[in-house]
Structure formats: structure tokens, C-alpha cells
């Protein structure tokens, strides 16, 4: 089936990864009043994890078949 090609499966897996990254309990782990490089841990985590997720999505979708 064309609908369930490998690319679609990888992207669906990334969606699940994202869902895990941005929900309890991982968020609770980073929800602490500390800082990295002057930036609160939680905020740094959000933007780094988010950026990494987008990079992975780009990698999967732009990879030639």
C-alpha cells in the first residue's frame, strides 16, 4: 500500500517520539529551577528537543527513496 510506505512509518514514529518528549514524565524531569548557560533548564529543553525533532523530520522527508 502506498499509504504505508517506510517514510510514513518513520514520520509516525517521530510523532510518537515528540509526544513522549513533550509530556509527562519527561517534562517533569526538566521542570526544575536550574539553568544551563543562563537559560532555565525547561525552556532550553523545549527549544533544543523541538529543534531536534524538526531536524529529524526534515531528514526523513527529504531523504531520497
Amino acid at each position: 500500500m502506498e499509504e504505508f510506505d517506510l517514510r510514513a512509518q518513520r514520520l509516525a514514529a517521530l510523532c510518537l517520539l515528540g509526544a513522549a518528549l513533550f509530556s509527562y514524565p519527561l517534562l517533569a524531569v526538566f521542570n526544575v529551577p536550574a539553568t544551563v548557560l543562563g537559560i532555565p533548564v525547561l525552556y532550553a529543553y523545549f527549544f533544543v528537543a523541538w529543534g531536534a525533532l524538526i531536524a529529524l523530520m526534515a531528514l526523513v522527508i527529504e531523504r531520497p527513496d
Partner: protein, 920 residues
Amino acid sequence: MLEGWVVVVASFAYLGLLFAIAYYADQRADAGRSVIASPYIYSLSLAVYATAWTFYGSVGRAASDGVGFLPIYIGPTLMIALWWIVMRKILRISKQNRITSLADFIASRYGKSALLGGVVTVIAIIGILPYISLQLKAVSNAFTIVLQYPEIAMPAKLGTAPVLQDTALSVALLLAAFTIVFGTRHLDAAEHHEGMVAAIAFESLVKLLAFVAVGAWVTWGLFDGFGDIFSRAASDAELRPLLAPLDGVAGGYASWVWLTILSMLAIMFLPRQFQVTVVENKDERHLKKAIWMLPLYMLAINIFVLPLAFGGRLHFGDGMVDADTFVLTLPMAERQELLALIVYIGGLSAATGMVIVETIALSTMACNDLVMPVLLRLRWLRLHEKPDLSGLLLGIRRGAIVLILLLGYVYFRLAGEAYALVSIGLISFAAVAQFAPAALGGIFWKGGTRLGALAGLSAGFAVWLYTLLLPAFARSGWLPIGLLEQGPFGIELLKPLALFGVAGLDQITHAMMWSMAANVGAYVAVSVMFVPGAEEHRQASLFVDVFRQVPEGTQARFWRGTASVPDLYNLLARFMGIDAAAAVLAEHQRERGAPRKPEGLAADAEMVHFVETQLAGVVGAASARILVASVVKEEALSLEEVRTLLDEASQVIVYSHKLEQKSQELERATRELRAANERLQELDRLKDDFVSTVSHELRTPLTSIRAFSEILHDHPGLDAAERSRFLSIIIKETERLTRLINQILDLSRLESGRAAWNESLVDLRQVIEDTVAATSQLFREHGVRIECRLSEPVPRVRADLDRIIQVLMNLLSNAVKFSEPGRGTVAVSLAREGGALRVDVRDNGMGIPPDQHEAVFEKFRQAGGALSGKPQGSGLGLHISRRIVEHFGGRIWVTSAPGEGACFSFTLPLGGRGRLAEAA
């Protein structure tokens, strides 16, 4: 430079620029050179998701609870990861059915139901009103605030202006006029608004740049980088909790999860998102870039939200300035007039982008799925007799745009002041989320029915009205507040903010939970309870199985009836104009390869289907159905018939698939047979050659034996020396004959696979030394020197000792034969090479020409014979050697040039032949 007239001129100049871009893009589109046929423009246009909510509201939200603004952008990122599965399917379906809006999509899926389309439209319009009012509020607030410069005054504190002097009303009317000029200048058959898309993409750039500009200025201009802002916030007692904020948020993680789900659904089902993502899509492949570029855009526009929020609170202290306005008031307070103007324009672009696309999408829905189906049913309007209805369509759409914006303004007056920007927007998100079960269920579950969708949508929407919209009016004082505090008629269980006693959740989580439960529950329950109609069943199949290759003309087979070509042509002409109608019909007939039908002939099912699809692209599926039904006589198909047709279609697919497989198998088998046949013929030829060569080889020694025997027999008087010489020749020839016959027997055993192999671990070094010692007598006889260059001890290999000796003997005796007596030298060397042992036997004889390198290993080929004129040996030795070496997984070959000697080499794999076979 923030005087009133400058701001007004700048606003109009910006809107004028937008219009110029749209006009240019429309011109290019008419010339056939589209500017929006690019995945980058497509991705930017999708960023219409970021509105005044993002531009002003995110900072407001962040200032009060830290990370609460983020799920609105992380949710879409997660959803977009699934777009390759979900959105690609929606795109394919929409292209096939010429879908014009979300309402059209849902109505079309459930049997082209006009009622369902109408319900979706009503929900969409009512649900989106708060969202539009949010944009009006943001723009008019920004305008009012800028006009107070250099004062920083909040609009709420200035008191409510009378309606006629209200900036928000002017903004609403101005935007309505602008949208009308923009989106409904002419009626496009394909419902593409290329100019609008180009302008929206431009707006996305403007708002991003403006927001990043002010964010960078606050971070590095006003403060000393991210670290500075956060460390100052950490030392502020009120802000410190916001640095690890998730514990403090009401509802905590549950609220977080629901916000994420809510925005996952919003990115799909907001009418404007559906418009830009699906309806305005030029090419399915553009989705690839959008899948990572849209999330990246959202990430970029959010980076400076926290610095702005903390910066604003640190700068203004508490309470005086509304956090929703920090983006604008920070540069104003610091006298950064140009920056403030840029921010104002950025906010304007965020709001106008949303309002333009949203109202165009909603007005298309209102026209196609609400007004037209009703008008077409009112016989006394005599719409069927009007020659050209495109003017009417445009009029309805323009009216709808004005009406929707005015309703948005009314909502703003009634309920706008009680909530922050984000809270207003979330109410709309929750409304459009109600479309998710019917729409997503519709493309993956054939069992969903029209009644189920109606029940689900109504139930979900009712709960939304009760738990979100009602409280909004109550808080604004338009309904008694007691409704919220004591429940209707004092019934505690029915309190809108704590339905059935479920308290302790924030308003959105509470409403989403109940409305989704009602929606999904009713959709599934009613769907499975009642049998669907024929049309529904057919559409369900077409939507869910859109990726299956359907044979040509399958869709048309579902129609049975009589229709005439002129009737259909006139129908098309009334909605598309005469020229466009003639053009599409001619195109259609050319594609089918049918000759242009003479007027008056009956139209076939395929043509009726084509006309209906074309009409659907203009007025929506439900209206198109009514229109086509009005000019043709149709027979209704029963559910059973539709099922049979669908089964037939799917059987045809299965059969053709099987046929294809079978023919591929056949082809493969034929190829194999042909190859086998060729191989057999080759073997046959080889056998013949072999027999004739063997007979020849056997005859040569036999002839000479016979000749010398006859001489001895006929001449008894030969002297003893002569006799002895002849006898020794006879003995030598007999030996040769014996050797030859032995080798032939050996070869036949090897070839038939009957040869016995006694495998053991063999020390090749030892074998070579022994063999060289055994042949040293031979070398001495011929006056040839032999050298052994054996390296350090090597691992043992698994092989047959006797066979390896046979190979070595053969190579050594060959080397002797072809070396010049007296000055010949033969060198034997052994070395490890990768995973194998390599043996070289090098002589300095006459060498072998390159074209013979392969031939010497063939049966009865003798380089020696060809070179020196006399046969030496049987011509089987090298062939047998090759068979032996290859049996153990090794390789044997020769390197040589004439006159420079020859080097025969062979390898034996260290791990035995199994290892090599695996590696190969």
C-alpha cells in the same frame, strides 16, 4: 514618527502593498506562470496559522504562566509529522472531488449531504467568531495604544467608545472591504486564489521579521542577552515560579496534554488552514517541504516570546500594562519609534492574514454549503431559469464576508474584554476540534455515516456552546453570572464550568474532555446503529480507498439515468460562464478521445459525472448534486446495487493485480527456461567436443604404439639398440595413454560430483615443502632450479591433502616443462592474503600470450602445443586443478607475458569454502 497620520498612512501603504502583490500574482497566474507553485511559498502561506494571537497573545500568556503558549505550536509539529499519512490522503481526495472547503469535504464524504454541509458551516462560523474578534481586538488595541504615544495607556482604561467611533468597527469594515476586493474580485472555477496566497506568504515573512526584530532588540538592546533576562527574573520573587512553571499551572500536565491535542486538531481543521493547505494546494509534493518548514517557522517565531514576556514584566512591574501589549509597549516606552511602527505593521500583517483567509474560507462555505442549497430548493426564486448565476454567487460571498466580520465585531463588543487574547482563541480552537471525528473518521473508517456525523457534530457543538461560549457571555455580564456559580435553575450538576461535578480542571480541558466524549461517542454509536444510504456508502468507499488504483470510469458507473448534452452544458455555463464551460467540456472530450458530440445527443454517465465534479469545484458537492439532479432524470441506485458495484470494482482491482503477478511469474519462468535451454545446448556441444577430442588424444599415442609395434613385427632383424629405442617409445606412449585415461576418469568423477573428498586441516607450507622435495628429481633431470619462498608459518586450511598435492604437482611439472633446461628457474611462494592463502608458482620460461590466459584452464587446451608445436601432457591437468581449487572455494589464474615467464597462482580460503561462500 508615531503621529496619528503616519500610522494611518503606514497602515494603508502596507495594505496597498499587499494588494499589489496579490494583483501581480493573479496576473502571473492568468499568464500561466504561477508564482505560488513553489513549496517555499506554500510553506509560508501555511504560516497563516500564526495570527495576532501569536504576535501579541503568546507573550501575554507566557507572562502569566511561563510555558502555556508552547503547546499551541508543539501540537501542530506533532500533527504535521502525521501529514504524510493524513494530509496526503485529504489532498488526494480533495483534488479528485474538487473540494472547495472543509464543509464541502465533510458533506461530500457523507453522501454529499446538504444538511451536514450546512451544520458544519454554522459551527465553523459561530466557532470562529471569537477568533476573528481576537484579531479585531488586537489591531484596534494596537492602533489605540500607538496613538497615545508617548503615553503608555491601556485601551480598557480609556473606557468603551460609542459604536460609531469605535476603532474596532472601522477595522472590521476596512478588512471586510479589503477581503472583498482581494478574494472575490472574480469567480474562479477552480476556487484558487493565487493572489491571496502570494500576499499571505508575504505577510508571514513580515510578521516573522517584525517579531524577531523586536525580540532581538529586547534581548540584546534592552537587556544583556538571554542569560541577563533570566537571571534578573530569577531574582524577582514574583517571576521566580515561572522558571519551572509546570507545577503551578492549573490542571498541570492534563491541561498541557489537552492543549497539545487541541492545537493538533486546529492545524488541520481551522477553516483557513484547510483553505491554504488543501484548497489552494497546487501540487501534492509541496507537502514535503512544508512538513519541516512550517514547524521550523513556528519555532523561529517563538524563540523570543519568553525574553519579551520576562522583559516586559521586569520593565513595567506588575499590573499597569497588559502583558498582551508588551511587544508594542516595550519599544514605545524606550522611545524606539521606528521599531514600534514595525511591530505595529507586523501585528497588522498577522491579523489581516488571518482575517482575509478565514473570511474567504467561511464565505465560500456559507455560499456553497448554506445559502445555495437553500436557494436552489426554493422553486419560486426560479433560479433554474437564470442564464448566469456567477454574479449571484459573488454577491452571496461578499455579503457573507461583511456579515462574518460584523458578527466578529459584535462578539468583540459583547465578550471580548473579559478574556485575554489566547483564551479567546482557544474557544475557537475547541469549536473546530469538533470537526475532527467526522473528518478523520471519514477518511479511515468506511462505517461512519451521515447520521453519525450529524449526531457527533451536534453533540460536540452543543457541549462547546454550553461549557465555553455560555460562560464567556456570562462573564461579560450579558447572562446572569449565577448561571456559572449555582448552575442553571440552581442545579449544581449542570454548572457549565464543572459539568456533572467534574471540577478542578481549567476551562478548556474541561470543555474538550466533555465535548470530545459526546462527539466521538455519538458519531460512533449512531453510525453503527443505522444502515447508511447508497450514496453515502459509495462516497465512503471513494474517500477511504482513494489510494487504490480504480479503473477508469468506475465512478461514473454509479450513475444511471438519462441526460442531454445541451442541458448539462447550459448548467455549467450558468455557473462558470459560457467560454469556460465550453473550454472544459471540449477538454474533457479530447481527453476521452471521443468525437465532439452533436447537440441534442444523450450524455453518458461519465459526462454527467464530469459535469457534476466541475460544478462541485464552484458551488460545492452538495449544491452540485442538487443542480445536476435538476436537469437529468436519474434512477436511484439501491444500497445493494452500490455494494455490488463496489464489490465488482474491488474485484476487478484484485483480479488485475493477480493477473499482473501471474504474468510477471510467467515471464520469469520463461527467462529461466530459456537460460536453462541455452546451458543444455552448450553442454551438449561441450560433450561432443570432448568426445572427439578424447578420441583424438587417445588415437595419437595408440597410432604411434601401433606403428612401432608393426616395425618391430615386420623387421625382426633390427639391431638391438634400435629395437630397444623403439620399445622404450612404445612404453612411454603406453604410460602417456594410461595417464590420459586416468585423468579422464578423474575428470569424469569430478564433473559428475562422485569424486571422494577427504577433507582435513592441511598445513599448506608443509605440503609445498614435501611436494617440492618429491619433484626435485624431475627438476634435476631437466636442469631447472627451484626456489621456495615460504613466509612465516600460516594457519591451516581445510582441504583434501592428496588433491592439493595433485594441484601442486601439476603446476610444478608444467613449470618444468616450459622452462629452458640449464637456465630455468621456478619459484614457489606462499603468503597470506586477506582471508585466504595464496600460492604462486613462477617460471622464467616462454610465457603465455594474454589471449590464452583463460583458455589454458579449459579441457585439452595446451599453450605448449600452440607455442612449441609439440603436445606436452594431456591438456587436462590445469582443468582438473581448477576444479579442485574451486571446490575448496579458491581461485586459480595465470599472469604472464610472452617471453617473460608465467606465474600460476591459486588461493584457498582460510575458513574453508563455507566462509567464503558467506562472504561472497
